[in-house]
């Protein structure tokens, strides 16, 4: 006990300085773009996706096992995590440059980050003008195209529609499916009068409102303006259509959704529709399996439902044929030691046979052509027609810049909660976009 404070400080400083060896972002180790298999498939693949839901997980596990069985020399380590954990995990793996060989991607700027950062393999040569590429619906393939290059393999296609209980519609005297937005609102009034909640809505995690806005924005704002703004252009989000979109949301909130908060989860809200308390829910075609008895819906609902897309909005300046939706895809890591094997597995996963199996077992729409007739679920064929006759507007929360998404969803929350007018909401969004430009991460 005879040292002085100065010596103490000196010791401390010395330790800290030696530790201060700054380590920045490591460069990506890009492996050769060799997509030809040398002989029979052989080796080890790591796959990370986000279908951890007990309804979906078994299909993907079985597919991996099937591929292993056909190719004895191949082992696949397939891991599934939930949506949010996936986002966190893939970010960290990207940072450490230790991406799995194959990983999940949402379309829009979400996947673009991987393409721009050279973290995803360029699959243009594999997908353009090849037999593999011709298997896919054109829209689906375009979802992962950046600067004319293709980076993702589409797996399923998804769109947002109103599912409704026919019996409640009949009881409320709603004779036909609404064809315009005002008709939808009038139908809501009637349903409310008949003692039901018109539209079940649970916005606990923010994206349900984001999906509605995806739809409204696409209908209210011209496509080129929208694309520029979502991509982070200057003076973004000034088109009057954006305020109109928030007004549409506010009207839907006021006349169709139950009074009180919207903090319940989307699934809890769905239960309200399935058990006959609510007439409609705005949901993804991927969720159709939950509306079937095999997915746990009560018979009274399962036998009496149908769906319709968002009806046209009079006076809107955007694309009337837009439908909020998306394409789920898989990407190949640019540092994968065996890109050929990864591609071969993806070819297997998107073979017609396997895709039909997915349509049959999961009740999803495949991105592979000529598979819709494999559906067991009622409604899927109709969903396929709907998607085919509409233009998919990719989910706002994966389409737009990260920095814009949080203010956008937060502004939507405020409008739903009655804490902001559509004009104020748009101001929040514009400020977010402005911040994104000023404090953007771009190195």
């Amino acid at each position: 006990m005879r040292r002085t404070p100065a010596a103490a400080a000196g010791c401390l400083l010395a330790v800290l300085l030696t530790l201060l060896s700054g380590c920045g972002q490591a460069p990506v180790r890009v492996t050769a773009d060799d997509f030809r298999l040398a002989g029979k498939p052989h080796g080890h693949l790591t796959v990370l996706e986000k279908w951890a839901d007990p309804e979906y997980a078994p299909y993907f596990k079985a597919a991996a096992r099937e591929y292993e069985k056909r190719n004895p020399g191949v082992t696949i380590d397939l891991q599934a995590v939930g949506d949010q954990p996936y986002k966190d995990r893939i970010a960290v793996l990207a940072a450490s440059r230790e991406l799995p060989d194959i990983y999940f991607a949402w379309p829009g700027r979400y996947a673009q980050k991987f393409a721009d950062g050279r973290l995803a393999a360029d699959l243009t040569g594999q997908l353009d003008g090849t037999r593999w590429g011709e298997r896919f619906e054109g829209d689906a393939l375009r979802a992962f195209t950046y600067g004319g290059r293709r980076y993702g393999v589409p797996l399923d296609m998804d769109a947002k529609v109103f599912a409704y209980n026919e019996k409640i519609f009949a009881k409320a005297g709603v004779r036909r499916v609404p064809r315009t937005f005002p008709e939808l609102l009038t139908a809501c009034d009637r349903i409310k009068k008949a003692g039901y909640t018109p539209l079940a809505f649970g916005n606990q995690y923010g994206w349900p409102a984001g999906h509605l806005l995806t739809q409204f924005n696409a209908m209210e704002v011209p496509a080129d303006v929208l694309a520029r703004d979502y991509d982070g252009g200057a003076h973004a989000f000034t088109h009057p259509g954006y305020v109109r979109a928030f007004k549409d949301l506010a009207r839907l909130r006021q006349r169709c959704m139950p009074p009180g908060g919207t903090s319940i989860s989307h699934e809890s809200a769905q239960a309200r529709m399935l058990y006959g308390k609510a007439a409609m829910q705005y949901l993804e075609t991927l969720e159709f399996s939950y509306l079937d008895e095999s997915g746990g819906a009560p018979k009274a609902y399962a036998e009496n439902w149908d769906f319709f897309p968002m009806p046209a909005i009079p006076g809107a300046k955007g694309s009337p044929r837009a439908i909020a939706g998306g394409v789920d895809g898989l990407m190949v890591s640019n540092s994968s030691p065996d890109k050929a094997l990864a591609v071969d597995f993806l070819k297997f996963l998107t073979s017609r046979e396997q895709a039909r199996k997915m349509v049959r077992e999961l009740g999803w729409l495949s991105a592979v052509k000529g598979t819709a007739d494999a559906a067991r679920l009622p409604g899927l064929a109709g969903a396929q027609r709907t998607i085919a006759s509409h233009d998919i507007a990719v989910w706002l929360d994966t389409r737009a810049d990260d920095k814009v998404v949080n203010p956008y969803l937060s502004a939507a929350d405020s409008v739903l909660g009655g804490n902001a007018t559509p004009e104020q909401a748009m101001k929040t969004v514009r400020r977010g976009a402005e911040n994104a430009r000023r404090f953007g991460v771009r190195p």
Binding site: R2, T4, A7, A8, G10, L12, A52, A95, S265, A271
Partner: protein, 298 residues
């Protein structure tokens, strides 16, 4: 300079045995006492009712929970608890047990060594070393999530049990060392010296004399560390992504997301997760309280 941090922790008495035999009846009119009893009882109900409700909700059906949230389960579904167990609670529980016990062991050992070295032995740079250890108590590395995740990746232990064990240990070594050091300072050195003179090495003295002598404070430190490691969430969320390695706090939150709105299974799972710590607390209450009294510096 001398650090006199030890004061607050050293004199922790054992409340259960403390002689506070104040005769309650001596005070005040009956009305006051009735009022106090009523208020305290109401508070106890408010505290305990939600937990009992949670355990019972695990026996209900989803319909029952929504239709009659206050009612007792009409036909208890014990199978729900089994389902919850299968939903991964078992795995999370085992992970928590592993990470907690490893970090408890590590933190107590490493801190006891450090405390011993810093109080009893002649070490170069000992005063700065002490400052370094105790100063760390004021720092909260949870705020450094970004560099920590880079560091763990550089060390190759990101997404392994080691990430949590090492962090939980490192994070709590300063406080635990402080606690043990304060205790040792209050203990006589003579026994150790006697052992040392009798030919025992420092190492043997540590194990045969110091550890048994410090057993009460080591137990308290272990209890506090267990409570911390069992409940830690931020590190477990950011540094573990493999579902097979997740500990209870994060695993349960994930499970809640996965189950969508199957509330009975969730409540059954939560009850299973909560029970061990409640039982351990009720059994080891005395020790627990002493540990807390010692651990106010947290």
């Amino acid at each position: 300079m001398t650090l006199t941090l030890g004061r607050t922790a050293r004199t922790a008495p054992e409340p259960a045995s403390s002689p506070t035999g104040r005769a309650p009846a001596r005070f005040g009119p009956v009305a006051v006492r009735v009022l106090a009893y009523g208020a305290l009882a109401a508070l106890a109900v408010a505290v305990i009712y939600p937990l009992c409700w949670m355990a019972l909700a695990g026996l209900k059906t989803n319909g029952e929970i929504f239709a009659d949230p206050w009612g007792l389960p009409t036909d208890p579904h014990w199978s729900t608890y089994a389902d919850a167990w299968q939903q991964g609670v078992l795995g999370y529980l085992l992970n928590s047990v592993l990470v907690t016990s490893a970090s408890v062991l590590a933190v107590v050992l490493i801190s006891a060594w450090a405390a011993y070295g810093l109080t009893r032995l002649d070490i170069p740079c000992s005063q700065p070393a002490l400052l370094l250890v105790l100063g760390a108590m004021m720092l909260s590395p949870t705020v450094a999530l970004v560099p920590l995740s880079q560091l763990l990746q550089a060390l190759g232990i990101y997404d392994t049990y080691w990430a949590l064990i090492v962090l939980y240990t490192a994070f709590k070594v300063p406080f635990t060392t402080f606690l043990i050091r304060a205790y040792l300072l209050g203990q006589p050195v003579e026994v150790e010296e006697a052992a040392y003179i009798d030919g025992a090495s420092r190492w043997q003295t540590f194990w045969r004399v110091v550890v048994p002598m410090a057993r009460p404070i080591l137990a308290s430190a272990a209890v506090l560390q267990a409570l911390f490691a069992w409940n830690e969430y931020a590190f477990a969320l950011v540094f573990i992504t493999d579902d097979r390695l997740k500990t209870l706090p994060v695993g349960l939150a994930d499970m809640a997301g996965r189950l969508n709105s199957n509330w009975p299974i969730l409540f059954a799972g939560l009850t299973i997760a909560a029970l061990p710590m409640i039982v351990i607390f009720l059994i080891g209450q005395r020790h627990f309280v002493r540990g807390l009294a010692a651990g106010i510096g947290k």
